[in-house]
C-alpha cells in the first residue's frame, strides 16, 4: 500500500515538519518523529519538507477499469410527483457542453410513478435518451428502490459520469449509489470539466475554508458528482423535442423498501432566499436588533429579502433557511449587497454566481472584496443609513 516513510537522518530539526503539517499528523514522541492517524496523505511534507526527509512509497499502481467500456454522461431527473426540479436542466446543459469534448451521449434517468408523459418535457432540453422507470413502488422517494433503479441503469448503459442535483433528495441518493458502485463521489462541485480521456475534473471548495480542490476519479467508473441548484447555467427550452424515451423494466426484488412513506405534508410557503432577485446579506458585524431593522429596511426599499451568514444563525438571530453558504443555501440573485460580511469561501461559494455583488465592509483587506464587483470600504453604520436616505429621496422624487 502507498505510505509515507520518514528518513530521520535527513531531518535536522523535526519541529519543521511538525509545523509544516496542516493536520497535526507529525508528532514528536520521546524525541522521535512519528506520523499519526491525522495524516490525510496530502504529501505536503514530501514536497515542502526538508529534501528527502519524507518519502512517498507506492508499491503497486492502482488497478484501473477499462474506461472504453464506460460512455456518456447520465443526469438524474430530480422531481417530486413529476414536478421536475430546475437543477435538472442546469445539469443537462452542463452535460451537453461536456459531451462536446468526448462526442458521447447525454442520458437522463427518470424514476417515479405515472411519469411517462412527463418524460417528454426532458426531451425539450437536449438529451439523447431518457430512461424511464415507471412503477407504483417509485411513487415516493424511498432510498432503497431508487438506489436499485440507479444500479440497474448503470449496469445497463455503463455511463462514464453521473451528475446529480444536490437537493434534499440528491444528497441522500448520490452517496448511496456511489457506495453501491464502490466509486468516487464529489459533493457540491462548482466547476466541472471533461477531459478527452473521459476523466471528469471536479472542482469544489475544500476543508471548509478558503481553498479550492481539484478532484478526479482516475481509476473508477462511473464518476459521480453532485452540483447545487443555480451553479450551472440552464439551457433554453426548445420548442421541439429531440432524443428518445426508453421505458425500462426492473427486477421487483430491487424495489423492496424498508421505508414506508405515510403522508406528504405541504410546508407553509415561505419566502425562499433562493428565489429572491435582490438580497441584502447580513454578517457577523451586525449584533443589535436595530442593525437587523436597518438591513430589513434596505431590503424592503429594494424589493428584496434579508439573508445572512452562518454565525448569525448560530447566534439565533436568523432562521437557518436564511443562511447563504456551503452549509446553507446557494443563491444567484440579480443583486446582492453584503453588509459586515468578511467573506469566507464557506459563504462566497453560496453566492459568487450572483449577477452584481456589492460589499460594504470597513476592512479594506476583507476577503469579500475579492468576490465583489463594487467594494465599498467604510463603516456600515454611516453608509447604510445614508443609502436608505438617498433611495427614499429618489423614490419620493419619482412619485412627485
Amino acid at each position: 500500500m502507498a505510505k509515507l516513510v520518514l528518513h530521520p537522518e535527513k531531518i535536522d530539526d523535526p519541529q519543521v515538519l511538525v509545523d509544516l503539517c496542516p493536520f497535526g499528523a507529525m508528532q514528536l514522541v520521546d524525541g522521535h518523529l512519528e506520523i499519526n492517524a491525522a495524516c490525510k496523505m496530502c504529501r505536503l511534507c514530501v514536497r515542502k519538507g526538508p529534501q528527502g526527509a519524507v518519502e512517498y512509497v507506492e508499491d503497486k499502481p492502482k488497478p484501473s477499469v477499462n474506461k472504453d467500456e464506460w460512455k456518456g454522461i447520465l443526469v438524474y431527473v430530480d422531481h417530486v410527483d413529476g414536478n421536475i426540479h430546475p437543477v435538472t436542466w442546469e445539469l443537462i446543459g452542463k452535460a451537453r457542453e461536456m459531451s462536446q469534448v468526448t462526442h458521447q451521449p447525454v442520458y437522463a434517468l427518470f424514476a417515479g410513478s405515472d411519469i411517462e408523459d412527463k418524460a417528454h418535457e426532458v426531451l425539450h432540453y437536449g438529451v439523447d435518451e431518457v430512461f424511464v422507470y415507471d412503477k407504483p413502488e417509485l411513487a415516493r422517494f424511498e432510498i432503497e428502490p431508487y438506489t436499485g433503479v440507479f444500479e440497474d441503469l448503470i449496469h445497463t448503459i455503463k455511463p462514464s459520469s453521473i451528475l446529480i442535483g444536490a437537493t434534499t433528495v440528491g444528497r441522500q441518493l448520490a452517496p448511496r449509489v456511489a457506495a453501491r458502485m464502490k466509486t468516487g463521489l464529489t459533493a457540491d462541485c462548482t466547476i466541472l470539466e471533461m477531459e478527452e480521456n473521459t476523466d471528469l475534473s471536479q472542482i469544489r471548495p475544500a476543508f471548509g475554508g478558503n481553498i479550492m480542490a481539484h478532484i478526479k476519479t482516475p481509476n473508477n467508473r462511473p464518476q459521480m458528482a453532485t452540483v447545487r441548484y443555480k451553479i450551472m447555467n440552464a439551457p433554453e427550452r426548445q420548442n421541439t423535442e429531440s432524443g428518445k424515451i426508453t421505458v425500462c423494466d426492473i427486477d421487483p426484488e430491487k424495489l423492496i423498501s424498508h421505508v414506508e412513506v405515510l403522508e406528504l405534508v405541504e410546508k407553509p410557503k415561505e419566502d425562499l432566499i433562493e428565489n429572491a432577485e435582490v438580497l441584502i446579506a447580513a454578517g457577523r458585524a451586525l449584533k443589535k436588533p436595530e442593525d437587523m431593522e436597518m438591513v430589513a429596511h434596505l431590503a424592503r426599499l429594494l424589493g428584496g429579502q434579508v439573508a445572512c451568514t452562518r454565525p448569525l444563525v448560530e447566534a439565533g438571530l436568523f432562521d437557518a433557511t436564511k443562511q447563504i453558504g456551503l452549509s446553507g443555501r446557494t443563491v444567484r440573485p440579480k443583486l446582492i449587497i453584503t453588509i459586515g460580511i468578511s467573506g469566507a469561501v464557506q459563504f462566497t461559494a453560496g453566492m459568487d454566481h450572483s449577477d452584481t455583488i456589492i460589499a460594504i465592509n470597513n476592512d479594506p483587506d476583507a476577503p469579500i472584496f475579492k468576490t465583489a464587483n463594487y467594494c465599498l470600504v467604510g463603516d456600515m453604520y454611516d453608509i447604510v443609513p445614508a443609502l436608505i436616505d438617498r433611495i427614499e429621496q429618489r423614490k419620493a422624487a419619482h412619485h412627485a
Binding site: P22, I143, R171, A178, V261, N373, D382
Partner: protein
C-alpha cells in the same frame, strides 16, 4: 434500544488558507471540537433512550486526540465509545471513510439505530451517513427534522423535502441523519464528566476489522484523488470605492438606479 451515534472532531475555526506562492496550507489550530451538527444527533439519541431505555454508544474516526470528543460525549451522557484510528486509514475520501466506519461499527457491536448529524463543518459533504448505511445494507433517511414515533421495531420520522415534509416509517435497524434543531442539545455536565473520567474508550485499528485488506482503506481505498489545491479565483470586473460615507451613498444609489433596482 441500542443506539450508535457517529461523531467527528473538527477544527475550531474554518480559517484555512493556501499560500499562493508555496502552495502550503495554513491552518489556524488543529482539530479541537465536536462537529456542532453531531450534538443534535447525540441529543436525539438521549431522548430516545429516556423514552425506551437502552444505551447510547458513540463512534469516531480520527487521530488519537479525537478521544477528546468521545470524552465530551461521555460528559453529555453517552454510555460507551469507540475510536477508529490507524495510519492505514489516512487520506480516506468519502467511500473509504464510510467503509472504514462501517467496519468499525460492525466490530463495535449490533445496533438498532445509527444516528448521524447533517454534515461536518470541515468536509461539508453530508455524504458519509448515507454511504455508511449502504455499506451496512440498512435503510437510511436524511434531513430528519422530527421524530414522530419510536418503537422497538420501527421509527417514524419527518423528512425535509424542498416544498414538503415527508412522513415515513422506517424498519429498524436503520440510519438517520438528523437536521439541526431537531432537539436543543444539552450541555456537557461536570458531574458526568468526572464520573466518566476513567471510562474506557475502545480503540480499533486495521487488525480489529473483519476486512483487513489495506487496499480497502485510506488513500488506497479512495476512488477520488485530489489533484491539487489552490486559492479561489479573484474576481473580474471590480471597482473599489474608498470615500466618505455620504459620497459612497450617493454613488451607490446612482449605481442602483442605473442598474434599475430603484
Amino acid at each position: 434500544m441500542k443506539i450508535l451515534v457517529c461523531i467527528k472532531q473538527v477544527p475550531e475555526s474554518n480559517k484555512v488558507e493556501v499560500d499562493p506562492v508555496t502552495g502550503v496550507i495554513k491552518r489556524d489550530g488543529a482539530a479541537s471540537k465536536m462537529n456542532p451538527y453531531d450534538l443534535y444527533a447525540l441529543e436525539t439519541a438521549f431522548r430516545i433512550r429516556e423514552q425506551l431505555g437502552g444505551s447510547v454508544h458513540v463512534i469516531s474516526m480520527g487521530p488519537p486526540q479525537a478521544k477528546e470528543v468521545i470524552r465530551e460525549a461521555y460528559a453529555m451522557g453517552a454510555d460507551s465509545g469507540t475510536l477508529v484510528s490507524d495510519r492505514a486509514f489516512g487520506g480516506a475520501d468519502v467511500l473509504a471513510t464510510s467503509y472504514t466506519l462501517s467496519q468499525g461499527i460492525k466490530a463495535a457491536g449490533d445496533f438498532d439505530l445509527i444516528l448521524c448529524g447533517k454534515q461536518t463543518t470541515d468536509g461539508d459533504t453530508a455524504q458519509v451517513g448515507s454511504e455508511i448505511a449502504e455499506c451496512l445494507h440498512i435503510p437510511s433517511v436524511a434531513n430528519v427534522v422530527e421524530l414522530r414515533e419510536v418503537t422497538d421495531k420501527t421509527i417514524t420520522v419527518a423528512m425535509d423535502l424542498p416544498d414538503e415534509v415527508e412522513i415515513a416509517r422506517v424498519t429498524l435497524p436503520c440510519l438517520l441523519a438528523v437536521d439541526k434543531d431537531i432537539f436543543m442539545p444539552r450541555l456537557p455536565s461536570y458531574v458526568r464528566k468526572c464520573a466518566s473520567a476513567n471510562r474506557e474508550i475502545r480503540i480499533l485499528s486495521l487488525k480489529d476489522m473483519d476486512d483487513q485488506n489495506p487496499d480497502h482503506y485510506g488513500l488506497n481505498g479512495s476512488p477520488t484523488q485530489v489533484q491539487r489545491i489552490f486559492p479561489p479565483d479573484v474576481s473580474h470586473d471590480q471597482e473599489t470605492w474608498n470615500e466618505p460615507a455620504d459620497i459612497l451613498a450617493d454613488r451607490l444609489s446612482e449605481k442602483l438606479a442605473e442598474l434599475r433596482f430603484i
